[in-house]
Structures are given as C-alpha cells and as structure tokens.
Symmetry: C2
Subunit: 755 residues, 2 copies
C-alpha cells in the first residue's frame, strides 16, 4: 500500500463542484436550435386491438407541430424490448407508446398528447406468470415470440445453460434452460440435511433520480444522426440507431451525457424510435421521460420465482443444489431466468447440480437489467437455505459457508477455473465484524442478526484509452464510456499513479463516439477493471514518451529520469529538471523537433475477477405491526484494490441501499388488468435515509490478476446479499423464514399470525 502515491487515498469526485452547483449539464439541459419536444401517447390497455388514432384536437394546440404514428415511420418489427417502435395493429402492455406528439415546447407536447384520441378494442390480457402458464392461457404472441433478447449480455448477465428448443405449439413460454451436473437425485437421497423453499420477488424498478432522456439531431446529408442521451453504452446505442436508420454506424454519432443514475436500465430503449422520428420530421427532437412514463414504460427487473433446494451431509458438505426458476419478463422475452439459476449455484462448490428455468411473457412492460440482474433473488434463495441448513446441522452459518465456498482453482460457472478470489477472505472479514461478533448482545435485546454473501463473476470488454500531455503540465485522459458512477475520478487516480503526477493534474475528457477510443457499456462491474487497464497503459505510454523527450534534452537515459512535482529530473541532480508543461510544449509548437506526447492504451482482458460482498443486518421486528426496522447494515466487500476508497464506499453503500429497497419496500404492483398500481413515487416506495439504516462499509482487498493494481469491479456485489441478510436477520429475530419480497409489515404480520 505504501508503494502508492495516490491509489487507495480518498479522492473526491472531480466533477463534484460542477454537480453540486448545477453546472454539470445533463440531457434535460440540452437545447438545440429548432428542437422539438416529444411526448408519447401511451396505451391505456394491457392488450387491445388498435383502432383509429385521431390527432386533430392535438394538432390544434398552439405549438404542436406533428403527431406521428406507426404509419409515419418505417415498418420495423421490434426484435426486443430495447428496440420498441410505436404500436401497430395492437397494443400489448399498458404504457406502450402508440403515438409521438412533437411540439415547440414540452408543455404543448404534453397538452397535445392528452388530446390524441385512440380507439381501442380491449382483448384478454395475461398479467401474471401463473396466468401465462395456465393451460387455457391466452397466447400473447400467437405467431411466435420475438427472439432478440441479447441485451442482458451487456450487463454481464450471460444466461448460461443450454436453451431448449421449443418446437411445441405456441405458448407464453419464451424459453427454458436446463443445466445438470452429477446426479442430483442420488445426492439428495444421501443428504443428511435438506433445505428447500420457494422464493418470490416482484418486478422492481431501477428508478434513477434522472429519468431516461435523449436528444437527436438528424443529418440530412448522411441520413444519420447525432444523438445525446442519458445512456450507459454510447457505442452500443450507435449500432442500434444505425441499424434502425439503415445507415453505417459511422454515420451516427452518440454523445453519452453525464448520467443521473442508470443501474442497467439505460442500455438502450427509445433511441432508435426517437432517431426515426427526428429523421422523419427533419428536425432535432428531444424526449425526456416524465416520472410516470419512466415507471410505466421502461424496463424494470423481472418478477422471479425460485424453488431452491440444498442437500448437505452431516459434516456440512454441500452435496446437491437444485433450482427451478420462473421469470415473468413482461411482454418481450429475456434470458434472465436462466441467469438467476446460474447465480443460485455459482459460488459454492458442489458436484451435483440441477438448474432449470422458464421465462414467460405477460402483458406488462418488459424487463431489462438492474444492478446484478436477478441476483438479489438468487442469493435470497441460496443464502436463506444455507442459513436454514446451518440451523438444522447445528453449525455456525459462516462456518458452513466457508466450508463450501469457492476457492482459486475450483470450477467457475463459465466452465473455467476460478482465479484468485476473495470469497473466503470476505466471509472471514464479515465474521470478525463487530455487528456479527456482538450478535448475542443484540439478540438479548430482542433483535435479530443475519448474514449473507453474494458473488458476481464480473463482465469483460475490450477497450482503449488515450493520455495527452498539455503545455500546462496537465495530462488529458480520454475514454469512450459514459459516467454513471464516478469512474472518471478513479481513472484519473490510475493515470496519475502510472504517469507520476497528482490526480488534480489529470483532466478527464468527455467526448462522443466519433472522438473517443472504444469503450463498452458501463455495467457488469467491468468498467474500472477492464478500461482501467487501458488507462494504465495509456498513462505509461505517455510517461515513456515524456521521459524520452527529457532524456534527449538532458542527454541521459530515460532510466536515469524521474517525475517529481510536475517536473522531469535527472535522478540525483534535482537542479537538472524540466517541467512537464515545457516538455509538452516542445511537441506542440511551430518547428518543434519532438512528436506530441500522445499515449495510447488498448486492452482485451479475458480473465475474470469475481468479487464478493457479505452483509450483516441487524433488525428489530415489531410483532404488533409487522414492521421490520433495519437498525444496522454492515457491508464487507472484496474490491481487489480500492483505487478510490470514496468511490468504492459510495458503490457499497448505494448498492446496499438498493438492496434494502428490494428487501423491505419496492414492488411494481399490477392489478389483474395489467394496470400499474405503483405508478408514481408516491406509490412506488424506495428507502429514504432513515429506512436505509446506518451502513458500515469494510473493504477487503484480495488483488485480482489483471485489474489495474489488482482492482476488481465493485458495482454489482453490494446489492446482491442485502435481501438475504435481512431475511436471515428477520428469521433470527422471529424464527420466520420469509420467502417473498418486499417484506412489508402486512406480509410479516400475516406470517407472524401463521407462525
């Protein structure tokens, strides 16, 4: 640690002042000359035949310029939720865009949207997974379910397992997976202890502070567009928009604006539709979703049902794991059910596995990625069952986990061997945490203490980075990803450490897909891990170039030079030195004889860096009201190397807070007709600062092999074990094994009554 000058030191966000003062511009701040404001007309039915659309009253509103329906746009059949177009012939979920009103102001567009009259002929809607699976269920996609559900891959949620081909007759089953290893039936037969239970979590919404939004400027010459958006994947959006417009991706320019929260929801949604609208009218178009639209018409996490089962021998060895997952993915399919099954079984070593999943479609808005997709549910299942088994075995629950935890060399879910991982170290650190060590005192006060761990394999994606030196001695750093979570600050720390200057002398450059080196979507806990390596290489390359210039100036070898306080000096001769700005200037001047300092870094890391987060929850359950009062939450996480502990702790806290929401509060509630009941932040409950409870973070550092200075991804893990830890704490306090979220007071009260 002492080897580092800047890595590991808390570094405030470089754009913090701009954010605090309102000077950082978000997508909602972007106004282009002649820009039209868009507002969707949304379906009010979950399933209906679409009749006439009368826009006359809307067009009478002053400022309304046009009302587009599917007939005005190219006939593109959307292959997935992320590529949705305007409804044609029928609507298939409440909140589906039916028309777009374009107006000179957002207010006129909203007034216009209110006055577009749409004729619907209601059809029977399928609004729950059970209804979808019923023998006499209405088949939502009689001619076949669309298949283009590749979008989860971007978030690191590979489906895993083998898809079974469905040559059967049309149903609402979009796909099934089955993965078997060893002999599960025999193993369960031999088991001394079996724990099994069915768990359910509802659709949960990412609910970023900033809603989704885009501005598109058409280019009448190329047929392409420039798009600005609050998006996670500028290069991914570029490809999707180009496909929809039928132009090469090089004719589309995407500018990823600073993002006010994304969490997986912003990998692409209405970009292609807005781009088509802008090209159709030949003017810039802006669409910033309202909060209501954000809840009605985006891509929340799927509802999941997991029947899980674990078998142990009397010594606590895990003999068999089984999971059967059903996922309600809304009206477009998703492979997330299979991923949930994989997550259930990925991080404990076990020779006998049976993992099955069924993804079903329903007439609801369809789903997307949400921070560690499906993992809060998968780990609620496996970690509750571990707790139950420990109880039955009379073993310490941490001990039972340690006994079966994956270690380096064990088989990983991708079929390879686990590299160096910190599951054991994380559990050991959690065991030492005061909240766990003092659990008996808490119990004496009637409280419950629960523990759980979550694991995440971590995503991978190639990328590149550039570091340029300026005449003010500042190193400009450029990468091609959006800023969701403050990674630019961590990248600045990395570049500073590698180059040899202080992080405040690094300027992070925000740019578009034309100008930026390639960077993948920000998600899957891969950004710092993979692009950080490219940043390191670019900074090292810039340093080499810098020293080479100084070496020629001083007529010494580069090895005899060092960078100290913004100057290159000959080792041992501090009076023989030259400022970095002067060196930069030598490559940036008329007649200069050195090339500009322009460092380049490229990476294609192929080895993963799985990361683990353990959490300890302390709760008090009010047996009168059923209220679960979360008193304390400890978050213990292996981050490999905390490049910027402030950012790392921010991620740990933020993830855990969202985990609390999953556990106690959040639910997309639909009625039988598919109408969203929790369609505003008055109804859709998210934890406030009191409900989230005091969160204590503890960083564990088991360096990864390929990450920058050993860093691992940190974004997803902290949301994973929160539900399980709180459920285990509730069990510790009450003896109740809750299997459904959110664990609201009425639900707890009902369970208490049945106890």
């Amino acid at each position: 640690m002492s080897d580092f000058s800047f890595v590991g030191k808390p570094t405030p966000l470089i754009d913090g002042p701009a954010k605090i003062t309102g000077n950082l511009k978000y997508i909602g701040d972007l106004k282009l000359p002649g820009m039209l404001h868009a507002r969707f007309v949304l379906s009010t039915y979950a399933h209906a035949k679409l009749g006439a659309i009368d826009a006359n009253a809307a067009l009478d509103i002053p400022g309304v310029q046009s009302v587009l329906t599917a007939d005005d746009l190219p006939s593109i059949t959307p292959s997935s939720r992320a590529k949705l177009m305007l409804a044609r012939e029928r609507v298939i979920f409440v909140g589906q865009p039916v028309a777009i009103v374009l107006a000179d102001s957002a207010a006129a567009a909203a007034d216009g949207a209110d006055l577009v009259m749409v004729d619907y002929e209601p059809l029977e809607a399928v609004t729950s997974m059970d209804a979808a699976l019923a023998d006499d269920a209405t088949v939502i996609w009689p001619t076949g379910i669309p298949t283009g559900a590749e979008d989860e891959a971007a978030h690191g949620a590979d489906t895993g397992g083998e898809s079974e081909s469905d040559d059967e007759e049309a149903s609402n089953i979009a796909g099934k997976t089955r993965m078997e290893k060893g002999d599960v039936a025999s193993a369960f037969a031999q088991a001394d202890v079996v724990a099994e239970r069915t768990f359910e979590t509802p659709m949960v919404h990412q609910s970023s502070i900033e809603t989704q939004g885009w501005v598109v400027q058409p280019n009448p010459i190329s047929g392409g567009v420039t798009l600005w958006g609050s998006i996670q994947s500028p290069f991914g959006v570029r490809l999707d928009v180009a496909d929809a417009l039928g132009v090469p991706e090089s004719d589309v320019t995407v500018y990823g604006m600073p993002v006010g929260g994304a969490f997986g929801a912003k990998f692409g949604l209405y970009e292609a539709l807005i781009a088509l609208a802008a090209v159709t009218v030949g003017k810039p178009v802006s669409l910033i979703l309202t909060r209501g639209e954000e809840l009605l018409s985006t891509n929340p996490a799927p509802a999941l049902r997991i029947s899980g089962k674990l078998g142990f021998d009397s010594g606590g060895e895990l003999l068999a794991m089984q999971a059967d997952v059903t996922a309600d993915t809304g009206v477009y399919p998703s492979g997330l059910g299979g991923f949930a099954a994989m997550q259930f079984a990925s991080f404990y070593t076990c020779d006998n596995l049976l993992l099955e999943s069924t993804n079903v479609v329903t007439n609801k808005q369809s789903v997307g990625a949400y921070r560690a997709p499906t993992s809060p549910t998968a780990f609620m299942a496996v970690e509750t069952l571990f707790d139950e088994a420990a109880q039955q075995l009379g073993m310490d629950p941490v001990e039972l986990r340690l006994k079966n935890a994956a270690k380096e060399g064990d088989v990983a879910p991708d079929g390879g061997d686990f590299p160096t991982i910190g599951m054991v170290e994380t559990l050991e650190a959690a065991r030492q945490h005061p909240l766990w060590r003092n659990r008996e005192q808490a119990r004496e006060q009637g409280r419950g203490i629960g523990i759980a761990i979550g694991g995440w394999m971590g995503g991978l994606e190639p990328g590149a980075a550039v570091c340029k030196l300026n005449r003010d001695g500042v190193l400009q750093l450029q990468i091609g990803t959006a800023d969701l979570s403050g990674t630019p600050t961590s990248f600045a720390v990395l570049a500073a450490e590698a180059y040899g200057i202080s992080p405040d002398k690094v300027r992070f450059v925000y740019s578009d897909t034309d100008s930026a080196p390639y960077g993948g979507g920000v998600g899957g806990s891969k950004t710092l891990y993979t692009l950080g390596a490219a940043v390191l290489r670019a900074a090292e390359d810039a340093r080499r170039q810098t020293l080479a210039i100084a070496a020629e100036e001083f007529e010494v070898s580069s090895e005899d030079l060092e960078i100290v306080d913004g100057r290159v000096q000959v080792r041992g001769f501090p009076d023989r030195s030259i400022s970095l700005g002067e060196i930069a200037g030598k490559g940036m001047t008329f007649g200069g004889r050195y090339a500009p300092v322009h460092g380049n870094g490229r990476q294609a890391i192929t080895d993963r860096a799985p990361s683990f987060c353990a959490q300890i929850a302390e709760v008090e359950v009010d047996e009168e009201t059923g209220d679960v009062n979360l008193l304390n939450l400890a978050v213990v996480q292996d981050v490999g190397r905390a490049i910027n502990p402030l950012a790392v702790e921010g991620q740990m806290q933020g993830g855990a807070v969202q985990g609390v929401g999953w556990a106690l509060l959040e639910e997309m509630r639909y009625d039988a007709d598919g109408q969203l009941l929790s369609g505003s932040w008055m109804d859709y409950a998210m934890p406030d600062s009191v409900q989230a409870a005091p969160i204590q973070t503890q960083i564990v550092e088991v360096p990864s092999r390929s990450g920058p200075f050993g860093a691992r991804g940190v974004g997803e893990p902290p949301v994973i074990p929160t539900v399980a830890a709180i459920a285990n704490a509730v069990a510790d306090a009450t003896g109740l094994r809750l299997s459904q979220t959110p664990m609201t007071a009425p639900r707890v009260l009902e369970a208490l009554a049945q106890r």
Copy 2:
C-alpha cells in the same frame, strides 16, 4: 504512380455535398441557449484621447443586456495585435474596439452599438510609413512599442536575420534587422550588370468569404471556457485564451469550426476579448464580424517598400543581392519586414548578401499573416530585377534563373543545406509550357508574356493522428487541425492508401482540443506535409492491428494476409477471408478477446520541403486607358506528390487568383487621417472570374524526403510569383517596369505618359 490505388486520383471533397446543400454548419450557424450577440463600438479616430462612454441610450434598446468597456474587464495590456483588448485611455486606430454591446439578438446589438456615445479628443495621427519615419513624427508609443509579435511564426514566416537592439530614444521604428554575407560592395563593383529598383505594395486584405466569428461558453466551475470559432489554430487559440483568463490551457476547450476562408488572418484575434466578455457576463457570447468590421478591424498584410539590387557578371552569374525593406505594420509591430528581406534572397545562390529591414508602426489597424506573407512583394522585386538583368545581359530570362537557381545541397536560408528541391524542374517545366513556348506569336499580337518563379521553405510542426476501425468497416480518422482547404479529403486518401481501403470508407472526425490529437495551426503549407505523415503512421498502425487479429483468427502470419475489397484474406485463399467490420466487432463487444483497432501516429518531421511555383502571364495593355487585361495565366508548381490532384489544383488556382488581386486590384487605401477608404467590397476590389483570367495548372512532382508519399506543401507558393509574372508581362508588352501595386489603369496610364 501505378503503385498507388488512390493517391494521385482526383477525389472530390468529402464534405462537398454538405457544403453545397448548406448543411455544413459554420460558426454563424451556432446558437447556444441564452447566447448573447456582441457588436463592437469601433473607434472613429486613428488617434484620440478616449473620454466618457455613455451607454444609456444603448441600454434603452429592448434586448440590449449590457455594454462593456475596458473598465468592466480585467486590466490586460495587449502585447500584440492578436491580443487586442478594448481601448483604454486612448484609441490608436480607426476601427479599434472601444466597447462591446451584448444583446439578445444581433439586430439589437447593432442598434445598441450605434447609440453608444463616445467622447474623443483627437490627437495627431501617423498614417503612413514616411510620416512615421519623419524626423518630427509624432511617436505613437512614447513609452515603448509592445514586443509580443511572435504570431507570424505560426505561418512559417520566420523573421530571420538578427534584430538590432534599439537603445535609442522612442521612435516609430519597431525593429530593424540586418543580415550580411560576403562582401556586397566589392561584388557590386565587379558586376557587369546591376539591376535595381524600389517596389511598393499597399496593405492587402485576406477578405475571406466568411468573416471572422466566435462563440464562447463560459464554465463557471473551472473559470475556463469552451470556444467555437472560424479559426486556423485551435490549439494556439486555446493557449491564448487560457493566458488571458488566467487558467491552465486544459480548462479551455476550442472547437475549430469549418472555415470559410482564412489565408493567415484567422490565427487569433478577438478570442481572448470575447472570452473575457463571456466570463464577465456569465453567459455564452457570439461575435460574427460584419464585412465592414472585417475590413476595418482585423489584420491585413503589411504595406511594404523594398529597394532591391542584383549584380551579375557578364555570364549571368549572380554576384550580389541587396534588399532594404520598410514595412508599415500598422499600430502594433510585426517582424514581417525582415521576413520579406529573407524571401528576396532565399532561392538563388549568391555569396554576397546584404539584407536589411525596418518595421515601422502607424495609426492603422495592424497586420497579420496573409498567404506566403510578404512574398508577393519580395518576389515582385527579385523577379522583376532578374528580368531586367536578363534583358541587359541579352539572356533568356529562364536561362538566367536556371543558372542561379538553388539546388539540393546549396545553402538554404535557414543555414542548412537544401534537401531535394524542384526549382530547376519547375523552371524547366515552365519553359516547356505552351504559353511560354508560343510567346513570340503572342507578342506579334501586341501582347506581353512574363514569367516568374516563387519559392517557399515550408513550415514544420509536430502532430499526431488516430485511426479507429468501426463495425461497418469504416476507418475513422481524427486529427487536431481546422479544415481550411479540404485537407481532410487528402488525409482520407492517405489513410485509405496506407490502410488498404477506398477513401469513401474513411470518415474524417471533426473534434475539439480536448478530444483531438495535437495538430498545429493550419498555415505555412505544412499541414498535409507534416500531419499527413502522422496520418500515414496511424493508418499503418491500424492496419497492423487489423492484420494481427485476422492472423490469430486464421492461424497464419500477418505477412500472409492482404486487405482486398474491405476484407482481410489469406493470400492465395480468397475464400479464407473476414470483413473489416467483423474484425472491428471482435474488439468492440462484450467479452471480446481482442483489443479495439485504434491506430496511433506521431510525427516531428524536422526536414523542410521547399516548394516552387512558376507562373507565366499573358497580358494585353490598353494604352488608351491603361487597363491591363490578363488573358492567360499558367501555374506550374512542384508539389512533390499530388495526393489529391483536385485539391492541389484548387490551391494552385486559388493562390493565383489572389495573386491577380495583388497585382491588379487590391489595396487598403487610407486617407491622411487614417480613415479606410476601401472599407467595403464595393470599394475594396477583388478579382472576379473574368478578371482572374483562364488559369492553366501544371503539376510537377519532385518527391520530398519526408512528406507522405513525397508530398510537399502546396498552399503558399501559387500566390507568390503572380505579381512578378504580370509585371514582367506588362514590361514585355510596353517596356514599362511597374514597381507599385495594384497595377491599376490610372497608374499604368501615368507610367505610359512618363515613358
């Protein structure tokens, strides 16, 4: 030649369609939300004490937001014309900005500017070089002339010679240079033939179609700004603006917009002032000069007087060259006089030289660079004198030039040896041109034929370039310079040739100083020569990376691969191939195992590539009216290698047309009070398509050592010899040696009368 796939083939401008259809956005098209329009209040006196400024009436105009005077801005003393601030205490030229009116619309700003009342107390003005040098001249800068006239360097116009220090009393002489070699007096004494004459050219204005313009957005967090402008040097402007604002250059972002003509005038002028105004009011500010402001208040070419003298022996060997240059640089100094003296003597070999220059200041707008600064005058002098000497010697004028022309290995003006140069080849080609070969027939028709040559050392500047491969098989090319002259098209040809795809698969990326690799100002005929080398290297790097990926995929060596029709294929096995788009995709996808193709090229070429242009003019002189009718103009130029002949010929024609303006039409006329008489395009005459005459271009290719595929810079040379060629043609037709431009009808008539 046959080795090239694309180099040497005429390639239309890649942004031609956008330009023709009005879709390319220039600075005047840029509107930012909340942007204020600026209009200057300009001095109406050439020299006056500045009294009260009353803005009340202006502020009453609806839409006028504020009126800024020097008191509202930081007290910065401008060190040069290019750094002018608002006038303080006195005004020193007509057209000097005294106040800035900021309004919601350009019209309100103009109305406001009309109503700002300024009290002036007139002082004696010095408005000509003779008046400035008079013994009793009013001294314009009693406390010393500012010295920061480094700005010409950017245009390749190094002053050369040694500056003499002026420890004398205050005068209007800003600087003198003297350069002596050998023994000029003895050499002239030995000469059999001496030609000498004094030449004069007035201030001439660059007069681009697009006037100067800028938009500045302040950044209240960093204290810096983002600036968009019609400018030649984004990175140079970044530094100047940062200096004025007192922030590091990294806090200033400059976006070089497409430029509608620059010719040296747009290396920096009011950027810092507009940036200070924007920061002061905290809002975006736009200033687009009107045509009148452009003529009154920018930076034209200096007025020059050159007394030149050449001595030859009877065999035509050049024994001595002497030049004494006086330059009227307007109110701020410039080193251009010394550069003119250097240009006079640079390209003929001669052992005895005496070159002197005096730069004087006058109360006129000050000067800047204009295409091959001072060279039309310097070569008018030397090439007229060569012609006169040939006449006296009874030698063919081409033969006399060939006898003394510089060749590889001769001493160049920078003190080194000339590299491979094409002065002889250019003269030989000109001699073979039909216009010259058939000169006797022309003379029989009463016409005159004149020939002249011009030389240009060529600028140098380090730079870098980036080439990225996209999933559509398009190579994106990024450099950091502005587009003045269509070089992006030539760069696309270079990248295509080096990478192995067709130029229409190259996309040129326009970006800002944050995103772009460093590129110097566009000027000095160095852009293609130097940055082209960086582009080549970047494309070659991208090709290497591309082939490396394919080599791994096919398990062959890179050497066994070739790129054909957008695919990499194994040589001899055309069915084993993969598209470039697929290769790009392998480095741009979740879980990819190859780094993205991101090629980098850096260069710091230190060897110059002098280039030469010979011109042959055919004129008819109307002895009744004095009208010089230019009938034909042949432009013969060594371009090293014509990367894109269309662009090269465009430069040759454009330069020659401007040369015709110098020769026959253009003059910034001032009256004795320093009022500009030719202050509009009604009064300031530029050649139209008829006056410019048919121009025939002939490309000579003597490859340079370091340029891309042997290319040399082509921008400056074609403006250099036009004046001389026309003057020699007039002499051929009439026997008159005109020594003053423009050679207007009244001037010719007067000379004819005195013949």
